[in-house]
Homo-oligomer: 107 residues x 2
């Protein structure tokens, strides 16, 4: 089992922080079925355009989304690698089966 460095913890915390907002989780949910342009997300989420743009950038900066321009529209999509990264971060916090029997006492 690999040891966890401070950098790993920072990265994992950054991923979780990106997920720590209901609006951003709503965005992700709407991208599960495939890429969407910002205009559709604006309609679906009924939110101010600059606010949506801020959260999209937050997710993109964390590596969770990718975007591509097509004509005057910009399409956002989930980055599968990031989802895998999140899953491995969660796996890293699951109790280790081998450790369940260990009981440590203060002297």
């Amino acid at each position: 089992m690999a040891t966890t460095t401070d950098r790993d913890l920072e990265r994992a915390a950054a991923l979780f922080r990106a997920l720590a907002d209901p609006t951003r989780l709503g965005i992700i949910e709407r991208l599960r079925g495939g890429e969407q342009c910002v205009c559709d997300l604006t309609d679906m989420l009924e939110t101010a355009q600059s606010r949506l743009s801020f959260h999209l950038k937050t997710l993109k900066d964390a590596g969770l989304l990718r975007d591509r321009r097509q004509g005057r529209w910009i399409y956002y999509a989930l980055d599968p690698d990031a989802i895998a990264e999140i899953e491995s971060a969660v796996a890293a916090i699951r109790p280790s089966a081998s450790g369940l029997r260990v009981v440590k006492r203060c002297e």
Copy 2:
């Protein structure tokens, strides 16, 4: 597949927010092997006592930890139910296989 309510998103965001800090992830990592008293965590994490106490409370309020007093020590442990809850929150953001082919266009 169950629909996701605003309350679900709020709860999932709260869980992820609790994980969105490297100190708290460090605490969780040290609890993977079983419960620990605060004194041991203080030694391991080399942090101010009130600061550690704050983060323990944050994790406990989010439902991730349980504590029990034994004599003059208080032991913290991961709550397996919460870990399961996190895993299901992550499962909810994984791209749905059936949706990968859907391409939605702005008119």
